[in-house]
Symmetry: C2
Subunit: 346 residues, 2 copies
């Protein structure tokens, strides 16, 4: 690193070390059949010249780019951030670089797939809630390594990392029931996503198993965003007979719920208990701190990255489906139902 060099190539190093350029290449890519003394000489030359490999050329010639693509819907979401953090941590260990794509970029998601398969990345990690199936198909047909995160392949032919959504929701509802709640409002996620479906299913199952009848009004449609969480909560609060607890399908919408509750002059958890799903970092930041179902998002990212790398380095590895457990994180946003504010209101 002593020189200001615009372009030291492998040839320069070869000359400096007095060997052929292919030998340099072999030293650099960790080939075994190189005499130790030669290797040393080359390494010294590399150091002296401040040589740095040109990735583009390397991947053009070698077919590997050392880059992994990450396709996400956007960055405005603690959820994605956590997953990305896990991925990044894992990639660091393996010295892969991370190429970030956000799908809001264009509507033609499929074009990304192609672009990535064309040399830019060696594999791709998909956190794309609104994944079109065709997209996955393209990837699979081209036999391009990829792993889905928190998203299922309808055909079950992809490697996937997700978590026990259904069970997590089941436990959350069970917890509320255990506190004595009987009228529990539920705000769904974006129902075209499997995770949203499963959370709803878990909730319903818990009610059913507890012999609590399901009231249709108590299930409100949301979309995993805060705003809808707010509005769905309003609808619940406006009910003739409002719930004593609200279970939002993710933390973000739970925040919206808390806001709505507050806007109605009520207190969490005193008047209404609120529970979320995900446990994004903000969950412990809000006040009262949110009780929620923890998905190990960073861990999911880490595992997905690991799976992908394995698949890249060993192409005929069979696909895998890893499902991580969720866990209930009890904080301060839930308590047993008090004398109803509704009663006071009367």
């Amino acid at each position: 690193m002593s020189e200001i060099n615009t372009s030291v190539t492998i040839l320069d190093v070869a000359r400096e070390a007095g060997v052929s350029y292919s030998t340099v290449s072999r030293v650099l890519s960790g080939y075994n059949y190189v005499k130790d003394s030669t290797r040393e000489r080359v390494l010294e030359a590399v150091e002296r010249l401040g040589y740095v490999v040109n990735q583009q050329a390397r991947s053009l010639a070698g077919g590997k780019s050392g880059v992994i693509g990450l396709l996400v819907p956007g960055l405005d979401n603690g959820y994605i951030g956590e997953i990305a953090r896990g991925i990044d941590e894992e990639l660091t260990k393996s010295s892969y670089d991370l190429l970030l794509y956000t799908t809001h970029r264009t509507s033609t998601e499929a074009s990304y797939a192609l672009k990535m398969t064309k040399g830019l990345a060696d594999g791709v990690l998909l956190v794309v809630p609104l994944l079109t199936t065709g997209y996955i198909e393209t990837l699979r047909e081209q036999n391009f390594p990829y792993v889905l995160i928190d998203q299922v392949d309808p055909n079950n032919r992809s490697s996937v990392v997700d978590s026990l959504n259904r069970q997590g929701a089941y436990e959350a509802t069970q917890y509320l029931l255990g506190l004595g709640h009987r009228r529990i409002g539920f705000i769904t996620g974006l129902m075209k996503l499997r995770s949203a479906e499963e959370r709803l299913a878990g909730h319903m199952a818990a009610l059913r198993d507890a012999g609590v009848s399901v009231e249709e009004d108590l299930i409100q449609t949301g979309d995993f965003w805060r705003r809808e969480g707010y509005e769905a909560a309003e609808r619940l609060l406006n009910l003739h007979n409002p719930p004593t607890a609200i279970f939002a399908s993710n933390d973000l919408s739970a925040f919206g719920v808390m806001e709505a509750v507050r806007a109605y002059g009520l207190q969490v958890p005193h008047d209404i208990s609120v529970i979320g799903f995900d446990d994004i970092p903000q969950a412990s930041l809000v006040y009262p701190r949110l009780t929620t179902v923890r998905q190990p998002l960073d861990e999911m990212g880490r595992i997905a990255a690991r799976l992908l790398i394995e698949q890249i380095e060993n192409p005929d590895r069979p696909i895998r489906h890893v499902t991580l457990p969720t866990s209930l994180v009890i904080r301060e946003s839930c308590q047993s139902p008090q004398q109803s504010w509704l009663d006071l209101r009367r």
Copy 2:
């Protein structure tokens, strides 16, 4: 996109269209001297074959990769997320891709610089609080396009996008003074960063201009992280004569402050007012919602990206320094000092 092709190259397209491969290349890179009818024929062939350009090859040959590097300290921080979002939005428009590097990866930051200059990226955006100067120097010496975000070049020879830290802090303190506070605790940021310095300076200036004497105990050292915020707040609360308001150098530490205040059985803002800096998304999520100095983080990212692209496309553009205004966002975490809880305690 009709074919399942593992490797349609420009040659295949050329054959299909009945032209030479260089003509195809020219059509694809938007060269002007191509007959319309030819262009059309080529485009059709591209479509028919599902051809996608190979970026690696393109950049090897053409020297441009269409990728911009983003170097950040980590992802665990709403602050970075906002900046990244702005950058991403801007890059989308220009069809650049984003390569993400986190510095926690290795301690040898400088090696990234080199790696990026070697073909992987056309330019780099740096949000690296702990920037070593040598790093910047390397980039500049190689004449590699880069822009610093919220970080100054001690030598003033880099393009920079930052915000009016000093003034923002000045206004925040002024606001607290205006509410009637006289004993204001201040928690610094990581003092080796310019922004931390400037915020402190702004605070002091406001006090001085208002004729309020500065008490050394009221200035506590922090590091921009929540934990230190908590601990610094504890130190302030333990003072013989505690402050009635606390100004934390960023939102994250303000959250720590709020937590500490609560741990002491006190209420924000009733017993103690808290004000932050940054206005990260979480600021409006906490309760009470945090009054803070807004830095237009996404806008900073956007502008930095724009500056960088301009520099890439026009290398001898002079460096620029853009400083964005901050603004006070008044929410609910501050109010006039009440009868002191201290008094009650006596």
